[in-house]
Symmetry: C2
Amino acid sequence: MTKKVIIVGGVAGGATAAARLRRISEEIDIILVERGEYISFANCGLPYYVGETIKDRNKLLVQTVEGMSERFNLDIRNLSEVENIDPEEKTVTIKNLQTGEVYKETYDKLLLSPGARPIVPPIPGLDENQALFTLRNVPDTDRIKNYVDTQKPEKAVVIGGGFIGIEMAENLVDRGIEVTIIQMANQIMAPIDFEMASILHKHLKEKGVNLILENSVQAFADQGKQVILLDGTEIQTDMTILSIGVRPENELAKTAGLELGERGGIIVNDYLQTSNQDIYAVGDAVEVVDYINGKKAMIPLAGPANRQGRIAANNIMGKNEKYQGTLGTSIAKVFDLTVAATGNNEKTLKRLGVAYEVVHIHPSSHAGYYPGAAPIALKLIFDKETGKIFGAQAVGADGVDKRMDVIATAIKGNLTVEDLTNLELSYAPPYSSAKDPVNMAGYVATNIMLGDLEQIQWHEVDQVVADGGLLIDVREPKERENGYIPGSINISLNDLRENLDEIPKDQTVYVSCQVGLRGYLASRILKNNGFDVKNVDGGWKTYSSVYGVN
Amino acid sequence: MTKKVIIVGGVAGGATAAARLRRISEEIDIILVERGEYISFANCGLPYYVGETIKDRNKLLVQTVEGMSERFNLDIRNLSEVENIDPEEKTVTIKNLQTGEVYKETYDKLLLSPGARPIVPPIPGLDENQALFTLRNVPDTDRIKNYVDTQKPEKAVVIGGGFIGIEMAENLVDRGIEVTIIQMANQIMAPIDFEMASILHKHLKEKGVNLILENSVQAFADQGKQVILLDGTEIQTDMTILSIGVRPENELAKTAGLELGERGGIIVNDYLQTSNQDIYAVGDAVEVVDYINGKKAMIPLAGPANRQGRIAANNIMGKNEKYQGTLGTSIAKVFDLTVAATGNNEKTLKRLGVAYEVVHIHPSSHAGYYPGAAPIALKLIFDKETGKIFGAQAVGADGVDKRMDVIATAIKGNLTVEDLTNLELSYAPPYSSAKDPVNMAGYVATNIMLGDLEQIQWHEVDQVVADGGLLIDVREPKERENGYIPGSINISLNDLRENLDEIPKDQTVYVSCQVGLRGYLASRILKNNGFDVKNVDGGWKTYSSVYGVN
Ligand SMILES: Cc1cc2nc3c(=O)[nH]c(=O)nc-3n(C[C@H](O)[C@H](O)[C@H](O)COP(=O)(O)OP(=O)(O)OC[C@H]3O[C@@H](n4cnc5c(N)ncnc54)[C@H](O)[C@@H]3O)c2cc1C
Ligand SMILES: Cc1cc2nc3c(=O)[nH]c(=O)nc-3n(C[C@H](O)[C@H](O)[C@H](O)COP(=O)(O)OP(=O)(O)OC[C@H]3O[C@@H](n4cnc5c(N)ncnc54)[C@H](O)[C@@H]3O)c2cc1C
Ligand SMILES: CC(C)(COP(=O)(O)OP(=O)(O)OC[C@H]1O[C@@H](n2cnc3c(N)ncnc32)[C@H](O)[C@@H]1OP(=O)(O)O)[C@@H](O)C(=O)NCCC(=O)NCCS
Ligand SMILES: CC(C)(COP(=O)(O)OP(=O)(O)OC[C@H]1O[C@@H](n2cnc3c(N)ncnc32)[C@H](O)[C@@H]1OP(=O)(O)O)[C@@H](O)C(=O)NCCC(=O)NCCS
Ligand SMILES: [Ca+2]
Ligand SMILES: [Ca+2]
């Protein structure tokens, strides 16, 4: 019987597990060991404290050592590091970082929630860099904020265009700093695909951020005042944030002989048990199963860490609860926009060789006639044969989180794209349209499944035109003044029926419009008149988000 | 084969069906007959035009007769009324309301989407009332707006506290008018339950609205300048909006011998076919099946009308698509708050004799440490045996629509309350918490299913105390200064473990706190120490939303 549980790591997974354990039993001893000074802090809020959107530092501390000890009757040992595990003896070695004292503690069950740490590659000049920061915890944040407050940097370089990099870029801009982001890939925000990220690239530039893609840091010089890129570019800066990703804190697990995955994550079974049955592990440190494709993945997010912490606590206390895998639903604020995603993206599906179909739509966040509506770029990825939803992505100023959450829920409910058309979502003008964007994505996807709509993607258009394909832009002539796909001719939708004899029947005809809707209407007219026709998915809006305005 | 379709009614259901029919076939004749001048207008936007949130009248016209005729090659006959159907001959009689001309038109298939009309009971003085308005269409709106613009009324009475009544109240207040709402029931907004509506009652009062419940209009006097209530109260007013509900426009169907339901709705089968196989009907005029309880219901909402219009069009063209019934997801803006609901409420389940369990929680719309978070009062209703979700309701200033849409989607995916805990919803501080409010509702409900949490409801508390039950308020003493449940004693949560011997073991002990969370923690401590304990669901916040601050 479990009498004594030791938890390594006192934040998202660890603190949640501790609280849950105590709710299950008043009898067991719970020792929470945390290397840092603080437990249970708001990791996700840290960038916003630097940017002063969160003004009160105390707000970052969701719980204190004292508060949590008392409420949950815990033995919390902060500023203490678990240095070693002896799985045979069932003991851990703990070092008190204040006194230097090292001692052993026995356990019946051990839970590891040690998180992850920022990746710091051996870049030349790194050790001499006097203004290089990573961000993971409260001391990191204090360091950055203090530097900004006292050194008043004018320029900053952010290395890495993931969540933390982008959030830090925004928050440094909020502090009046000129920010350059350097990103190795051709896009920021890995969970979404290139054409969706392109909307963010443009927005970052509008906000004065200098975005450098497909480049990386070769070296730091001048004590970090200079960042030298792979292509030789030299950037002057007053500070640098290194945020190219995290790697699991797996040293303890490794030395204890626990099985690790390819990417270094601790391997756990469905019950979040490591290769040692008395040791559980959760959070950023563990390898999870991707809910969509069933492969192993590292998905370091707070929701999964909290959820796993609770499940591990349950199982430690003798329940038998499975962790269902991670869908990877994620979201970030990028200045005035929100970007969110759930499930798998195209890049992943391509890598795995899974056949999929894609839909891009650009509906309003709510009824267009009610003030404040903003367009949402919404991408749905699905299996054309079964209608299974693989994933979705959205970018927009309003209502993005709602649509991703609805689709994430639909995925968990095994709903198909056709089922999306039957979702009964709340509608009044300030909130949505009678057909919600999610319904609409479902309609378009279902039409593709049924063969009622055939389409080509933004990245296929130029080749089609180059190969002599006929592309008809069915917008009004005036709309073309703001840009059009090179090589397209113009027959507006309302004139189409009168101009059918001008359109060849012996070849596939391509149509496009602003967002895809009128192109679809045109394609229906043409199809029903015996033409072979394909619509440019997402219209000019998706195309131009990548290729810009000509 | 279908060659010619006549559609009666040119707005939500009718216009959608017409557009869809044309997308399916370029060949058929489609005649759209609409009594009014306008087709395809934004019914749901009408109150906001009166209130001048929507400033441009043209925005109410989603499509025009000309625009839609051309785009979809339709024969649209506005200002024309279908006066009669001859199902044997398969003809309708149409009256041109401008010329008075009456003529017949044949059809292969007929689609009825005639909507509903405001209920106008024979109140004495009604005919003499010079300032009485109902709101259904554009002319009604013009009439109201013109009256407000030119007569500059100081006072208005709104009869009926449903969606339209409440929206009109807000919009009249926005015009500087002093509004009195008269509602026959003990609450406004029928889709939610009393304790949830109580939050709105308070808010309306804060906004200066005079809310009169459990009263109704006996008569109008003085050409409508006086409204006399059932209890004799006389209210002076400059105008009155009558919005006590709608009844289906069923005259045509009735005279054509189509089967009608008890409440007058046109009866349709799963394929939206009436009792005559060549006549389909959709929208506010039809009786639907309640998705949760399987009973017949009238649910006059735009989403279902649009969806049904498309399905009917499909079936007219030979597809075989079932309408899945209506969940009744609904939403309204009530000044600074949003109220939304999905599925069945307690009142309905009680009426049907269904056993159910309820959870009230009060989470933040997003992480509390990030600015702008607002509490959501979230109610989840479920089957304690199976975990099936019966319905949900929410009231709050932010994030209400998202949570209702997620739960509406979960219902469609047959997810249980336990599945809600495993939803992976998007989390970053501006959008949610690591455990989203929907996850949290799932946790609480699951705890109830497992017997880990026992609770009593707000309406049971006073009786428990009156019967001598021990109610321990586990909040801090300071919190009680803002109000507490009469008869409760105070032992704060953090002092509970030291005071266990003061608590009797031979009787059920009741605990309460601010929102229910600390009460739950207290209940776990007590349960695990051998006490029999029940938590006041939703805490002081739910209790006081009904009983106010003492
Ligand atoms: C700046 C930032 C912003 C983020 N924003 C978001 C967001 O918006 N949304 C989101 O979903 N996620 C976000 N995350 C990720 C999220 O915070 C993590 O996924 C989550 O905290 C992981 O929980 P965990 O318990 O695995 O690790 P952590 O919360 O990091 O906790 C691990 C703890 O273990 C301690 N520890 C490690 N080894 C030892 C040892 N040997 N002995 C003692 N203690 C040890 C560490 O000191 C650390 O405090 C963000 C992260 C950061 C850093
Ligand atoms: C002020 C207001 C606000 C609303 N707000 C919302 C909201 O926020 N959310 C929501 O979901 N729903 C809302 N609704 C309800 C929504 O508008 C209706 O559910 C929807 O319009 C019903 O569609 P329908 O096609 O059945 O009827 P309608 O859209 O009303 O169309 C019926 C049409 O048929 C015509 N007609 C009737 N009989 C005949 C005949 N014999 N010959 C020719 N024409 C005929 C009528 O003139 C009418 O224009 C609101 C309604 C109103 C009035
Ligand atoms: C603060 C912290 C320790 C709280 O953990 P917790 O007690 O499990 O979580 P909460 O305070 O949200 O409470 C949830 C519990 O209360 C219950 N609960 C919530 N509201 C309730 C209500 N109104 N009535 C009854 N019970 C309620 C839930 O069922 C759940 O209990 P269960 O797990 O036993 O089912 C933990 O969330 C934490 O450390 N957070 C900060 C770190 C972090 O997550 N960082 C990453 C994100 S920034
Ligand atoms: C205006 C009106 C006639 C439009 O009807 P509609 O053409 O069916 O609807 P939409 O314009 O939204 O277009 C939806 C169609 O475009 C398709 N579509 C939408 N976006 C698309 C895109 N980006 N790419 C391809 N196709 C797209 C959908 O699949 C759907 O076609 P389908 O039904 O054949 O599958 C109708 O909605 C109406 O009358 N509205 C006002 C009245 C009303 O609803 N009032 C109550 C609410 S206020
Ligand atoms: Ca034309
Ligand atoms: Ca104490």
